[in-house]
């Protein structure tokens, strides 16, 4: 075990606690967008894909990395867009709410 592994562990510990505090404040109304938003954030592996595939010398590592980039991008792009689409639908009373009526 090296020192930066300890740092990573500390980061993990703090992030988990912080995650729980933050997410438990999200109201029930927003739980579905929260799920798709979480999908988007889990696309952060794209960063890992760019690095891991670049570090290796082997061509297979590149194929793997490229595939990982694609998959992670699906999450990032799809996740943020669909979350945004959902969230934009949430409106307060008395905003212009009657145009879209069928």
């Amino acid at each position: 075990m090296e020192m930066f592994h300890v740092f990573l562990a500390l980061t993990l510990m703090l992030s988990i606690f912080l995650g729980f505090e933050l997410i438990s404040k999200v109201p029930a109304t927003l739980h579905t967008p929260l799920m798709s938003g979480a999908n988007a954030i889990s696309g952060i592996t794209i960063v890992g894909a760019l690095i891991a595939a670049g570090d290796g010398s082997d061509p297979l590592a590149r194929y793997l990395g490229a595939a990982a980039v694609s998959f992670a991008t699906i999450n990032v792009v799809g996740g943020y867009l669909v979350t945004n689409r959902m969230l934009s639908m949430f409106k307060k009373k008395d905003t212009s709410s009657s145009e879209e009526a069928a």
Binding site: I16, P27, G43, D55, L60, Y80, L81, S97
Partner: protein, 453 residues
């Protein structure tokens, strides 16, 4: 950029992710929160791209383009009623991405045992998440048979797979190599295990599984972060992990079941509720109109049936007509109405119902006695009084919306069929209950037509 500078940008990115999540705590700021979160992601990606050892540029552009097109199309095309399936698929793609990252990380020369262990973890979690999510998606979208897939030696077989995973993982860690046959075995076993774990869960319990897999996709990112010593993966992954676990927990609590019970046992088959008998009093849409017309306060209680009927738009229309008619209108939302947390809220928001008209279970129950008419739209289990009264009921103890305490209850559904839990509903036989049979959208549309004259 130097590695130090890149990591400083990661710190900024992490802070933005956190701000973004903070703003998700209110519908008024949530859009901005999502925006901030996406900027955080952009910063992390751009900072990474300035590093030296990355994929060749052409590769990056092509792979990102592919992913962006798929993701973008999916996000635009998906119907709000199919969000559960979509989340399932996204979980899967997050999982496989982490698996691939960890695999690729093996090609780095200077791996320590610690790194190898995290690589194995990442492959396992990622693999299980991937196939598990696909099965969950299949069951939800009914591409696959949605029943629980049970067979005799299930426990033995699963135990064997688990044992195999541990054994192969240990052997691999002792002599790790990117082209080790044990690696391939490990990947295959992880993928198989994902199938085996989700298959025995009935399609109806999929939402809980999906939320759990949501959490796993975050944990997989965390593990990948350890494998390649990357902080931002750990921070962002933990947030996703926490989100999934909290939602899983909320669902289990609202169904009054333990997670183990959801994962390891079929539902409803075992327990037997007290048989319900009595007289059902149907009502026509015309008569329903007359009663609604006279009502001072109306609360709508939507459930899964509203999603099936796609009735949210006519419901909103009826709500507006009732308000114009002088009634006080609210929408009472049960935490597990529908098929995923917040399902009803999204549908109603889609139909332009302002979110301040939505009332949570805890807030409506204390004042439900004062409500003239509670209109139950395709909800069933979440308004089943057996959960309150019948100790033999499998859903006994599940908190419900006490519509039976309102002055009058209309129940809109197509038949006397039971809901998701397969349990009979004594509400339908209540003195103050009127059944309005038929597709919810049609029924409400008829009432709306009457109102309009």
């Amino acid at each position: 950029m130097t590695l130090e500078l890149i990591n400083l940008f990661y710190v900024a990115s992490a802070a933005l992710f956190i701000f973004g999540l903070k703003q998700l705590s209110s519908p008024a700021t949530a859009v901005r929160g999502n925006m901030l979160s996406s900027i955080a992601m952009l910063i992390a990606i751009v900072a990474t791209l300035t590093g030296n050892n990355i994929l060749p540029w052409e590769w990056i552009i092509i792979s990102i383009a592919i992913g962006a097109v798929i993701g973008g199309l999916a996000a635009q095309k998906v119907a709000m009623t199919s969000m559960p399936e979509m989340v399932a698929l996204f979980n899967g793609s997050g999982g496989i991405a982490s698996l691939l990252v960890a695999w690729a990380a093996l090609y780095n020369v200077d791996n320590s045992t610690f790194t190898d262990i995290t690589v194995v973890l990442s492959i396992l979690i990622g693999g299980v998440t991937f196939t598990g999510s696909i099965i969950a998606w299949g069951k939800l979208s009914e591409v696959m048979p949605s029943g629980a897939w049970v067979f005799g030696l299930q426990r033995v077989v699963n135990g064997a797979i688990l044992f195999g995973i541990i054994a192969v993982a240990v052997i691999f860690c002792m002599d790790p190599a990117a082209d080790s046959q044990y690696l391939y075995m490990l990947i295959a076993l992880a993928l198989l295990f994902g199938v085996m774990v989700v298959a025995p869960v009935g399609g109806a319990d999929m939402p809980v599984v999906i939320s759990l897999l949501n959490s796993y996709s975050g944990l997989a990112a965390c593990a990948a972060g350890f494998a390649i010593n990357n902080n931002i993966l750990i921070v962002a992954g933990s947030m996703v992990g926490a989100a999934g676990i909290i939602l899983t927990n909320i669902m289990c609590k609202a169904m009054n079941r333990s997670l183990a019970n959801v994962l390891f046992s079929g539902f409803g088959a075992v327990k037997q509720a007290t048989k319900v008998e009595g007289e059902v009093k149907p009502i026509t849409a015309d008569d329903a109109y007359l009663i609604l017309e006279a009502a001072q306060s109306v609360t709508f209680v939507p459930g899964y049936g509203m999603a099936v009927a796609q009735a949210q738009h006519v419901v909103r229309e009826l709500g507006e007509l009732l308000e114009k008619n002088g009634a006080e209108v609210s929408y009472a939302i049960h935490p597990v109405a529908g098929r995923m947390p917040g399902h009803m809220n999204v549908l109603l928001a889609e139909a332009n119902v302002p979110y301040d008209q939505l009332v949570e279970m805890e807030d409506i129950n204390p004042r439900i006695e004062g409500i003239d008419v509670a209109v139950v739209i395709g909800a069933n289990d979440v308004v089943n009084p057996a959960a309150r009264n019948d100790e033999n009921s499998p859903i006994y103890g599940m908190p419900i919306i006490n519509v039976d305490h309102a002055r009058t209850v209309f129940v809109l559904k197509r038949s006397m069929a039971s809901g998701f839990s397969g349990v009979d509903n004594p509400l339908f036989f209540g003195d103050n209950t009127r059944m309005l049979f038929g597709d919810a959208k049609d029924s409400i549309a008829t009432v709306v037509a009457e109102f309009k004259g």
